[in-house]
Symmetry: C2
Subunit: 350 residues, 2 copies
C-alpha cells in the first residue's frame, strides 16, 4: 500500500546546544512544504525512527567520530521509510529503505545525498520494521562487531554487558550465549533483569538500582569478567574494572551515564586494573564495519528465524513525541530498543 505524497513535512531541528539533559527549548519544530525530488533522486516517507543514546553526542559542538548536527539543521536520525517518489534506479517507488532520514516525516534526497545517508533497501521477510532498527540495524551491527571483533569472546568466557535490556545490550548478551559464553547483564529495575534472564536466556542480571553492582559481580562472575561490553561508563565501568579476569577485553561502545554531564566525564579510577590483569579497553564505532553489515544481517536474521535470538522494541507513537521520547533513553525509562513511529497509518509489524 503506497500512501499519497504528503503536502507538508513536520521536522525537528536543533535550535540550540543543550546543557545537560535536552529540553523542549533545544528543539525547533518546523513544517515545510514537500518539494519533488531532483532528477535521479528520491523521496522517502518516514515510517519509524531509531532513537539512540549516540544522538545526544551529535548535539554537542566539537570533534567526535562524526560531525555535530549544525544549529538549525534537521536532527540526524536513522530510520526506515517507504519510497514515495523516485527516479533513482536502485530505489523504485514502494521500496522499503533504511538509512539516515532525519527527524522528519518526509526525506528528500539527490542520488549523492542518498549515498551519503547510507540508504539501503531492506528485506521485510528478514525482520519487522522495528527489528530493522534494532537487531538488523545499527544496534545489532554494533553488538555484532563490538562483541565479536573487539571483545573476541571465547566459549566458556564470562561476558558482562551493561544496558542489558537496551538495544545493543539485548543482542550482545544473546549473541554471547549463542557463542557459548556465560552472560551476565546489568540493567536498571527488576522487570528488565527478569526479562533478559527469563526471555533472553542470560545466565544472570544485576539490577543496579537494587543494590551494589560490586556484590552482584562477585556473585555472578566468580572467575572474573573476560569480556565487558560497556554501554554506560561511570561507576559501573569502575566496578567491572575491579573484577576483571586475566587478559580481559573491555569494549567501549558508549557511556550513557555521562552524556548529559554538565561537569567533566568521570574517568575510570580503576583503570590500572588493565595493567594488573594485562587487559585492554578498546573503543569501537559501528560505521567502520559498513562493508560487513550484510554478513552480520545474514547471521542475525538466521538466529531470529530459528528463534535463538529475540528482540524487544519500545515504540512511541507520533513525531511530536520526539523530544520526550529521546530523553527516556537517559532516564532508563525505555524498555527495549526505543523506536519512534512517525507514520501512524502504516503498521510497523505484520
Amino acid at each position: 500500500m503506497i500512501a499519497a505524497v504528503p503536502q507538508s513535512n513536520r521536522q525537528f531541528r536543533l535550535a540550540r546546544r543543550p546543557v545537560g539533559m535536552p529540553t523542549h527549548d533545544d528543539w525547533q519544530q518546523a513544517v515545510e512544504p514537500v518539494q519533488p525530488p531532483p532528477p535521479g533522486g528520491l523521496q522517502v516517507r518516514t515510517l519509524a525512527l531509531s532513537l539512540d543514546p549516540a544522538m545526544r553526542g551529535w548535539m554537542n559542538e566539537g570533534k567526535s567520530y562524526i560531525a555535530p548536527v549544525g544549529l538549525g539543521e534537521v536532527m540526524r536520525a536513522g530510520g526506515v521509510g517507504r519510497v514515495l517518489a523516485s527516479s533513482h534506479a536502485s530505489f523504485p517507488v514502494g521500496t522499503l529503505v533504511a538509512g539516515v532520514l532525519g527527524v522528519q516525516e518526509v526525506a528528500t534526497f539527490s542520488a549523492a545525498e542518498a549515498a551519503k545517508a547510507g540508504l539501503a533497501r531492506i528485506d521485510a521477510r528478514l525482520g519487522t520494521i522495528p527489528q530493522w532498527l534494532n537487531v538488523l540495524g545499527m544496534p545489532g551491527m554494533t553488538a555484532y562487531f563490538g562483541l565479536l571483533d573487539v571483545g573476541q569472546p571465547q566459549p566458556g568466557d564470562t561476558v558482562v554487558v551493561s544496558g542489558a535490556a537496551g538495544a545493543v545490550g539485548q543482542t550482545v548478551g544473546q549473541l554471547a550465549r549463542i557463542k557459548g559464553c556465560r552472560v551476565v547483564g546489568i540493567a536498571g529495575g527488576r522487570a528488565k533483569c527478569d526479562w533478559v534472564v527469563d526471555e533472553l536466556g542470560f545466565d544472570a542480571c544485576i539490577d543496579y538500582k537494587a543494590g551494589p553492582v560490586r556484590a552482584g559481580l562477585k556473585e555472578h562472575c566468580p572467575r572474573g569478567v573476560d569480556v565487558y561490553f560497556d554501554n554506560v561508563g561511570g561507576d559501573i565501568l569502575d566496578e567491572v574494572l575491579a573484577r576483571l579476569a586475566m587478559r580481559a577485553r573491555i569494549v567501549i561502545c558508549g557511556a550513557i551515564s555521562q552524556y548529559n554531564n554538565t561537569e567533566a566525564v568521570k574517568g575510570p579510577r580503576n583503570y590500572l586494573s588493565l595493567l594488573v590483569h594485562r587487559a585492554r579497553m578498546q573503543g569501537m564505532v559501528v560505521f567502520d564495519y559498513n562493508d560487513r553489515f550484510p554478513q552480520a544481517i545474514a547471521e542475525l536474521s538466521g538466529y531470529l528465524r530459528d528463534g535463538r535470538l529475540k528482540s524487544r522494541e519500545d515504540i512511541v507513537q507520533g513525531i511530536e513525541q520526539f523530544p520526550d521520547a529521546l530523553n527516556r533513553l537517559f532516564t532508563g525509562a525505555n524498555f527495549g530498543k526505543l523506536v519512534l513511529q512517525v507514520a501512524k497509518d502504516e503498521a510497523l509489524t505484520t
Copy 2:
C-alpha cells in the same frame, strides 16, 4: 676477584605499609649473621640493586600482579650479584647473576628459591652491571615487549613516551626510533629533555614542568599520537588521550604519578577518546615475557654494541641510602635508571 664471604648481612625490611610517600619509619634496618647456603643452594653478594617505581606498589597490601611484600620481610628488589659460595650446578662461585636478591648485602638461596628468584647468569661482555639492571634488565625488557608487542608501532608512526629519561622510557624511545618511528618524549626539566633529544636522538621532548603538555603535543604530534607508552598516568595520560590518532595504542606500563596517592587514583577523564579514535589502552607486565627475554637481550645488546642504543644510569652509593634513593623516583630527582650500588669495593663498570 672474589671477595671473602662477609660475616654480616645488612638488610632493609618492610616495617609498616606507607601512607603516601614512604618515610624512614616504614623501614627496619637489620643486620643478620651470614649462614652458609643449604646443599644445592648458593650465596650471592649483592653488587647493585635496581630501584624501580613498581616497588612502591609491592609495599601496599592487596591483590596486584604480584603478592605484596609481607611486613617484616626483606624488601623485594632485583639486582646483580656475584656468587660467593655454591653447590648449585648452574652457578659456580664467581659467576655474575641477576635476579630478585632483595635489599640486602648477601642473598642466600636453596635451589628452589634460586629458581623462584629468577636467578640467571649474566654475560658481562654484553653490557655493564648497571646496563644489566637497565636496558638488558627488567626496564629494557619492559620497554621491548611493551612497545613492540603491545604498542605495535609501524614505521612512520608517532610514538610518545612519558618518563622519557627514565629507565623504561629511554629504551622505549630509542627502540621506536630504530623501528622507524617519530618519537616524542615527555620528561621533567630541561636537562632531561635536552638529553633525550641531543644524546638519544628523540625527535622532540616536552618538558612538563615548563609549560602545558597539551601545547607541546599539538606542536610535536601534528598528526596525532599513534602509540603512547605511559609510565606516569594522571593528567599527562589525559592530555595524550585528547590527541590520539585513529586506531592508536596506549601501553599502560605504570602510573608513577599515582603511586603515592592518599586519595583514589585519578581516572582518565578523556577515555572516551578511545571510542572516537577506535583506540585501545592495554596493560602489560614484563614477567609474562620471561621466555622471550633471551631474544630481546640479543637484539638490545646488539644495538648497544653498534652504538644505536645508549643508556644512562643514576648510581647511588651505599645500601644505607636505600630509603632516600627510592623516594627520588617519585620526585623525579633521578636522571636515568636508578641503581643502588651495594658492594662498594667492586667496580660496576669496567
